[in-house]
């Protein structure tokens, strides 16, 4: 029997700290974790700061405990503070982390990734997903001598200027002048661009499937990636897969293997080291020379402890058959959520791969009901967001899933009561 909270969460300490933060930090909490970017609607329903974490949970400053389905936006793949990963990182920290030379773990980690990711012949490390996608693009330019890159509309590849829209603050026409965009799953549009810009396209970059925000996630159409591979092969275009978000949650051999194709370059980050800062580009031999020539580095990119954490994390994921485990847990959770919604005459639509499912209520074109649902869940200790895909981690238990569904049932009941005109009845 699961237990639910007698009283709804309150966030006095979070809000007090946020008021201090607003004076000294732009936006208070910059970036994707801020209350605006995180779609904390209304802000009062959500915690703003975490105090500590373990397994599938975080505790906020006010002592509220949450079952966390954002997993730090992906990095928590084994469970927060996983004992094996923490021990490996601690051991390396005691030996040395940021040093004048790289540690042996850099080589061991590269060997492990080459053994694990099906298409990989080599690996190159940096810190964030955006570092990885930027490096992959540079390699493609270096290898082909071409300037343009095809991207998918709505795709997210980080925050470097080339990844953003020219309408965003700080972005100039020159930053995005060599980007070409196509709709997701539209190979004909890719062919048209290839014809329009002969021998000028260096790369095609996309995520394994369309997991944009604010929209149902869409898997590749049958034969899509194979057709893209063929177009790239026939036209000397480097095929880059941005596996930063999906990586190791679909297939430990890489999401390209899950969808049955081989990219030339693949970018990894979030699930690579269970929260330790390291990202990677892996590639085929044919691009190893270009990767060597591109000058790309950073003060902390060779830090040894995250590499040690990465080795431990990947080995643990292998031991647990982590990708399939998370997919199974995601299926169980989402089936329960759909049933809980139906019990209140609401229809919850699930899309994407279950280990990183996106959910939304139908009859809710504005997402206001979805926002209300997520807010009610947050008030009861389950952390969802209304705009983004969610993340399952390996430590999620059946008890966590049951408790989540119980909380969701209560939240759906509130939504149903407040929106009688939008029910299935």
């Amino acid at each position: 029997m699961t237990e639910t909270k007698d009283t709804l969460n309150s966030y006095t300490k979070s809000m007090d700290l946020f008021q201090r933060a607003l004076k000294v930090l732009p936006a208070g909490i910059p970036g994707h974790q801020g209350p605006v970017q995180s779609q904390f609607i209304p802000t009062t329903a959500y915690p703003l700061y975490a105090d500590r974490v373990k397994d599938s949970y975080f505790w906020d400053l006010d002592g509220n405990k949450f079952i966390d389905y954002m997993c730090a936006y992906g990095p928590n793949v084994l469970g927060y503070n996983n004992d094996v990963v923490e021990a490996a990182a601690r051991e390396q920290y005691e030996k040395g982390n940021c040093m004048a030379l790289p540690g042996r773990k850099q080589v061991e980690f590269a060997e492990l990734l080459v053994d694990t990711i099906e298409m990989a012949d080599w690996a190159f490390f940096m810190k964030n997903g955006g570092d990885a996608t930027g490096f992959a693009r540079l390699i493609a330019h270096a290898a082909t001598g071409r300037e343009k890159v095809i991207m998918v509309e709505g795709g997210y590849h980080g925050v470097a200027p080339w990844t953003q829209s020219v309408t965003h603050a700080g972005i100039t026409d020159g930053d995005v002048g060599n980007n070409l965009t196509v709709p997701w799953n539209d190979t004909a549009a890719v062919e048209r661009l290839v014809k329009k810009y002969p021998r000028r396209i260096a790369a095609f970059i996309a995520t394994p499937y369309d997991h944009r925000v604010f929209a149902d996630n869409v898997l590749p159409a049958e034969g899509y990636w194979q057709k893209i591979r063929k177009i790239c092969d026939e036209n000397g275009i480097v095929l880059i897969i941005d596996d930063v978000r999906c990586g190791f949650r679909l297939d430990l051999g890489g999401s390209a293997r899950y969808f049955g194709f081989e990219p030339d370059l693949a970018c990894y980050c979030k699930a690579l080291a269970n929260g330790y800062p390291v990202s990677a580009v892996v590639g085929k031999d044919s691009l190893k020379d270009a990767a060597s020539k591109v000058f790309y580095t950073g003060s902390y990119w060779s830090s040894a402890a995250p590499m040690a954490a990465g080795v431990a994390c990947i080995n643990e994921l292998k031991r647990l058959d982590g990708a399939n485990l998370m997919i199974e847990k995601g299926k169980k959770l989402t089936e329960g959520l759909v049933k809980a919604a139906a019990a209140e005459d609401l229809t919850l639509k699930i899309s994407g791969v279950p280990s990183m499912f996106y959910m939304r209520l139908i009859n809710d074109d504005s997402l206001m009901m979805q926002q209300e649902f997520c807010a009610e869940c947050a008030r009861r200790g389950v952390f969802f967001t209304s705009h983004h895909n969610h993340f399952i981690n390996c430590s999620l238990t059946d008890e966590d899933i049951s408790q989540t569904i119980q909380v969701a049932s209560e939240a759906f009941a509130v939504v149903a009561k407040n929106n009688p005109g939008r029910l299935n009845r």
Partner: protein, 251 residues
């Protein structure tokens, strides 16, 4: 970079449109147009056309060409913009017997616009003035936003990405402005919509005033609860870059 044709559109369909509000809320302005039944057609070469009609104690800015008692011609958008800035005169084409209205009541109406849109610290201490300044500034900004979204090159890029629907901007227990979006085209109307797709709200007039005057950034406002948003947020995400262009045209 500011486009003079877009500025002319803002001046015509956002700034001069403010006379509608004045006629309704400012007793001095209402007195100036009382009993007046006439209209002024603005013809701007290589620019927009609009007609400001005064009838029954109300003012209305209409788009396009209409039957008018006075016709004013401007040889370029720059010419019109200079007239709005008080640095040039129009070329009257029709209504020579009514030019007294232009040089008299209409100029005084323009002064009232200036009075409410260019506040001083002392004036803002008067609650009635504060309310009118804030409301008129809000209307002017969002009507200009629609013009910029439809005609400025960068504004059009953002507008093209705005999902269809109605974006409601409102002050709690106060005024509302609706931005209607259809296939990347924007239109702005006053009032509250019963089923908006997204809502951006200000807790009170003071919050709205500080945001509109650059004294409260939206991230702080949203985080602190002085502002709130809900609904389909991509509408707001793509409106914000257009809103950022408004001061470029109206400052």
């Amino acid at each position: 970079m500011m486009d003079s044709t877009v500025l002319a559109r803002c001046n015509l369909f956002a700034v001069l449109k403010g006379m509608e509000y004045l006629a309704e809320h400012d007793p001095v302005s209402a007195g100036l147009i009382e009993g007046r039944e006439l209209s002024i057609q603005f013809i701007i070469a290589r620019g927009p056309r609009g007609c400001l009609a005064f009838s029954g104690g109300r003012a209305e800015m209409k788009r396009g060409k209409h039957k008018s008692s006075i016709v004013l011609y401007f040889n370029s958008p720059e010419h019109f913009n200079k007239m709005i800035a008080g640095e040039a005169n129009p070329v009257p084409l029709k209504g020579f017997t009514r030019l007294g209205f232009l040089t008299g009541p209409f100029m005084k109406l323009a002064d009232r616009l200036d009075y409410y849109l260019r506040p001083t610290e002392a004036l803002l201490k008067d609650p009635a003035y504060f309310r009118m300044n804030t409301e008129l500034t809000a209307y002017t900004a969002f009507f200009a936003l629609a013009e910029i979204g439809n005609h400025d090159s960068k504004g059009r890029l953002s507008a093209a990405h705005m999902p269809d629907g109605v974006l409601q901007v409102l002050v709690e227990k106060g005024i509302g402005v609706q931005i209607h979006v259809k296939r990347g085209k924007l239109s702005c109307v006053k009032g509250h919509h019963e089923d908006p797709r997204a809502i951006l709200s200000f807790r009170d007039l003071d919050s709205a005033h500080r945001v509109l005057n650059g004294n409260l950034d939206t991230f702080t406002g949203l985080g602190s609860g002085e502002m709130a948003m809900k609904g389909f947020i991509p509408m707001l995400d793509h409106m914000n870059p257009i809103l950022d262009l408004v001061p470029l045209y109206l400052s």
